[in-house]
Symmetry: C2
Subunit: 113 residues, 2 copies
């Protein structure tokens, strides 16, 4: 994809019947911008990234952000930042598709020595 160009992320969503779908919108050594695409009932299990901060911006649908020991209801328009090392996940608890913009920023600590 050529950049800079203006796009509507929803037009690049990839849904899969068996598990969360993913697509990449932009990637550089500093930044990864992608989509996490959930059919009803699908989830991205709790996980953490060493040295990577992750921003979620919910674009369509509703569900829950999973955090260690708790779940936070969310819907389109809500954002969450999971700082490096903080476990996080997502579950689509709604009856429609859930589309989330996922932005990962890797600082120098995430790069190989």
């Amino acid at each position: 994809m050529d950049h800079p160009c203006a796009i509507r992320p929803a037009e690049h969503a990839v849904y899969r019947p068996d598990k969360m779908g993913k697509s990449t919108l932009f990637e550089s050594p500093r930044l990864l911008v992608g989509l996490n695409c959930f059919e009803p009932g699908q989830e991205h299990a709790l996980h953490a990234h060493a040295g990577l901060d992750k921003l979620y911006q919910v674009l369509e649908g509703q569900g829950e952000f999973l955090l260690a020991g708790r779940a936070i209801p969310m819907a389109a328009g809500v954002m969450l930042v999971a700082p490096a090392g903080v476990p996080h996940g997502i579950r689509n608890t709604g009856t429609t598709r859930l589309l989330v913009l996922a932005v990962l920023a890797q600082g120098p600590s995430a790069l190989p020595d």
Copy 2:
């Protein structure tokens, strides 16, 4: 602001009568997440960041992304990535407020030696 917590960015918007308003939602050595808030007619002039990629996600309103030599119409739901060194800006050409999520990722090249 404690993180991770789910927020609605629009609730943290800061508008100013004299120029574009800005607010910071999250900051780390890797990632800066903020809001650019434009009253009708306001703009963020063309500029570039060495070593920083910038993601814009339009949350409310409509306007134009400014790029070197051209302007791209945009509205809520549209995103644009300005890779490091690429001049970019924003102008609110609409009649309502324009709210844009701005995410900057600084890789090792942006850090002091």
